[in-house]
């Protein structure tokens, strides 16, 4: 970037990088629109061609949250980065439910991946294709071009890598329920949202046709959502708003026949949120007339009926007009195949270590929804930890000895800190003290059995990270940083002590930082859960939600477009054309 506009530089830097609270305010985001042209400028002279020849090739699979975050942060002057993805754009998925009802336009939430990579100093290559097979023995991936049904559609291409970054995401989990794939919409891709939008309109048009009895009309405008997670809940809320605010006026004949059902197998919807939020959402939906059916499991979907089961009511079938299936994720076939190759076939999800490297495979990394981190248990390493801490080999640990390794233990085993927090302990020594009885802290002199006893329960705090955009984006950012400082850290490792070997880990393990979560509930209301148990429910949260989404948009373009879509909706309502 040129040095001509120092003030602008600073301003821009303030708006880039990981989201900070200074970015939250929507009017800041909008009023800074004048900087747009400047932000797109880029200097070409920084590419050092001398580095080109020796660069290692990093191949990234996927352009979702994880892949794109990695691409934005990787130093492409140091690596020869190549991306393979069936989507040549990044989609801001939290706004997908808004696209289903035309509150936001599909095009406003996508950013071409080529635009994102063009802004980088080094060159990044994009291949439009889907990875069919990962060959980690020969360090190659086999890909199929994403082209229309033209004659050369079967042409496969092969990309070799030095490092592979798998970020292909997940597929929808149907739990093998019969009829789901054939009859239900999913809500994972931009195309899904567009198809849902079209189908909602078709349901209304169909219910409006002549020569129908009321039962048929009721069936046509019965919308069923399976899955009470944030996506399902937000879609239900969006649909309710779309119908009451826009469609009711245009379809007066059918507006009173509309029914929205939200089916949840658990006891509550939004069960990953605080209970207060779940209750608020259920109450709001009841007031809105959205039927929340908890404790029901869908067992079959035909083209006319959806069949579900509950303990209290047994099996019931209800006719429906449109169904959206949003119940969780499952592993993609290409990953399942890869897991077989590397001896992970007994697992359901691809496992990585805490540094996001795939377990049992060199130079392959996996992040986002396609993998989970297999957190090393304290109890597996307990003897090694004791040995490392017991510097004088006395067989007991003194307070000083423990203090010395405490930071490394916290870094290597985050569950320890979590456990302390859950038990409301301020210090690791409290834990040991508990194990030893009421003795004074200074006199803690602990042996291996006491050490084991003290830490016996900490592994219960090992938790799988949620499959969210936030986790994926942070993982992409983290991994790119590791790649960027690989040389520096080889000489000066920054990670914790190795417990089972000598020396230190090269990098700090990945640590997820939760920035909170949102659930828009319709009618300009939202529920927000922020770090530090701060909860916000009601009308104000809507604006918080707008602000955060606006500030988190991937580029100035999408930011301005989404905000202008919101304005459009506020002025003109949503469009009801079947396109």
């Amino acid at each position: 970037m040129s040095r001509s506009g120092l003030v602008f530089d600073r301003l821009l830097q303030a708006f880039r990088g990981t989201p900070t609270y200074s970015q939250l305010l929507i009017f800041v985001a909008v009023s800074s629109g004048g900087l747009v042209a400047y932000a797109d400028a880029k200097s070409d002279d920084e590419i050092k061609s001398s580095q080109m020849s020796t660069r290692k090739r990093v191949v990234v699979l996927g352009t979702g949250w994880a892949g794109t975050s990695f691409l934005k942060n990787i130093d492409s002057r140091v690596y020869d980065v190549q991306v393979v993805s069936p989507r040549n754009y990044f989609a801001f998925t939290p706004l997908l439910p808004s696209v289903t009802c035309g509150t936001v336009d599909a095009r406003s939430i996508v950013e071409p991946i080529r635009k994102i990579i063009k802004k980088k100093d080094g060159e990044i290559t994009f291949w439009d294709g889907e990875c069919l097979k990962i060959d980690s023995i020969n360090k190659k991936v086999h890909c199929l071009p994403c082209i229309a049904t033209k004659s050369d559609s079967s042409r496969e291409f092969i990309v070799s890598y030095d490092y592979l970054v798998i970020a292909v995401g997940a597929r929808v989990n149907t739990f093998n329920t019969p009829g789901v794939v054939e009859n239900c919409h999913f809500l994972k891709e931009v195309e899904d949202a567009q198809n849902i939008r079209k189908d909602v309109m078709l349901c209304f048009e169909r219910a409006n046709l002549p020569d129908l009895d009321e039962e048929e009309r009721r069936k046509d405008v019965h919308f069923v959502i399976v899955g009470g997670g944030p996506t399902g809940v937000e879609f239900a809320a969006e649909l309710h708003d779309f119908i009451t605010e826009d469609l009711a006026k245009l379809y007066p004949k059918v507006k009173d026949l509309v029914r929205i059902s939200l089916i949840q197998s658990g006891e509550h919807i939004l069960n990953m949120f605080d209970e207060r939020i779940a209750n608020f959402a259920e109450e709001k939906f009841q007031r809105d007339g959205i039927e929340v059916k908890t404790g029901f499991r869908v067992v079959k979907v035909s083209d006319k009926d959806i069949t579900m089961k509950s303990k209290s009511m047994g099996e019931i079938s209800v006719p429906y007009g449109m169904a959206v299936w949003s119940t969780g994720i499952a592993t993609r076939p290409v990953i399942l195949d890869f897991m077989k190759q590397i001896g992970q076939s007994n697992r359901r999800v691809l496992a990585t270590n805490e540094w996001l490297r795939v377990c049992g495979c060199e130079d392959v990394y996996a992040l986002g929804d396609c993998a989970t981190i297999d957190q090393r248990k304290v109890m597996e390493d307990i003897s090694a930890i004791f040995k490392v801490a017991d510097k004088d080999n006395s067989g007991t640990l003194t307070v000083e000895e423990i203090q010395d390794v405490l930071e490394d233990i916290y870094a290597r085993y985050p569950q320890v800190e979590l456990y302390l927090k859950t038990k409301h302990m301020s210090d690791f020594l409290d834990l040991l003290k508990d194990a030893k009885g009421d003795a004074a802290k200074a006199s803690v002199d602990i042996n291996i059995e006491q050490f084991k006893e003290a830490l016996a329960d900490v592994d219960s705090q090992v938790k799988t990270l949620p499959a969210t955009a936030q986790v994926a984006a942070q993982q992409g950012h983290y991994l790119a940083q590791c790649f960027n400082k690989i040389k520096v850290c080889a000489e000066n490792p920054e990670g914790p002590l190795r417990m089972t070997q000598s020396g230190r880990h090269r990098f700090k393990p990945f640590r997820y930082k939760h920035f909170g979560q949102f659930a828009p509930l319709g009618g300009e209301q939202a529920a927000a859960e922020l770090p530090g148990d701060w909860i916000s429910i009601g009308h104000g949260s809507q604006w918080l939600w707008y602000s955060v989404y606006a500030s988190k948009q991937v580029s100035w373009r999408t930011r301005v477009l989404v905000v202008s879509d919101w304005l459009k909706r506020a002025i003109f309502g949503r469009d009801s054309s079947c396109i």
Copy 2:
């Protein structure tokens, strides 16, 4: 509308109705945005329910330019109006080429038909379906609902009418060229434009894949447009702009391989425009590197090659990546079937009389691209005209006698006025004088033979109206006006004298008023042909074009959206995501 805002009323009236030059300026259109909310307001109390029961049922087929224009102008308090169309929206088709490249968003050029009809005082019913059969004997139309592939898709419904207004438009004419339907895009519907957009991006992604030789890459980004009419020319220009302004930066590897070919069977492209415009367009395209191939007729399209023929070069085949077919229109099957029923099977297009009533069929009207007006020839009626004019039955016409019927002749046979204009005559009497020799005007005393001789050539001026949005919209407006004043005109007919019968025609025949035509040529240039042989070419015309399109948009919503799309493009460029 309520009487509370008289000034607003006046202002709004100035912005409604047929376009006037006061509407042309874009900033007027935009700056008046504050009136939006008011324009949408509507009072419900004016519907006179007493009229409801006796209202005649008018069924309109189609929601294109003709149908929508009719709906906007028909007095739905007097008629029970029902609309059947497979599209529940009106599309501003002149901007379709802009949608193909994302200059304008698809949703910005459509307006839900239910919104349009909701603004009217009386109720209008919309059925989402496609007319399959017109049964003019029983006064019914058979329709198929437009629903997704659900189990009840075969359900037909029947709508009865008192008056039928056919405005279903036309289909694309492939001239039975093999392979066109399978391999070419059309550009008539909004979906077509969206598919083209996606396919353009896929062609670029395909050309960018690894392991291709240059010839294959060249093939992938060879875009062929068949048909050098306004649509084809505008699409070629849009595509060229899209590639040079946006894609060249994102696809540096393939940008020099791109080729755009425009194939035209005639000698010149844009042959319905003034020759100066055609020449300008051809020269501009040459400078831009768009290959214009005139005198070529496409004879076959395979999935890889397009085969064409010219007199000078014989048959040649060229490989292509994407082809758009835009060569003219043909009659839809439902109309062909209807023509058979009413004895028009020897014709290619459905014929109406000058009042838009279908020839040979009571109470059925046809307008827009699905019909042509069969203008009555002067020579068919020449004896009758003479008889009507010759009031005193003297066997000769005096000047006064001619003056008395002149207006009626002009009204009934517009070709007479056209002929005078072509011959640079100021007066009908000049024509008769010519026939009689150099005698003084006052002494014109003309017999039937001389009368015939004078008018012998006027029918050469009978011209078919072009299949444009302008014609369709004017016809819709005209027919609605006729319906609205049917009672008044039954008592006080306003049409010309009936030549073959006694009395007057109830209405004036439809007369097309040409407001000019535009052809955007890319690079902010456009060619405009305005009434009175006024021609404008170059950069200024672009703004004229923008202004006219903005002012002609069907609603305030689409107007604002299109203008905001233009602004978006100007700031951010076009989107290149494959969605």
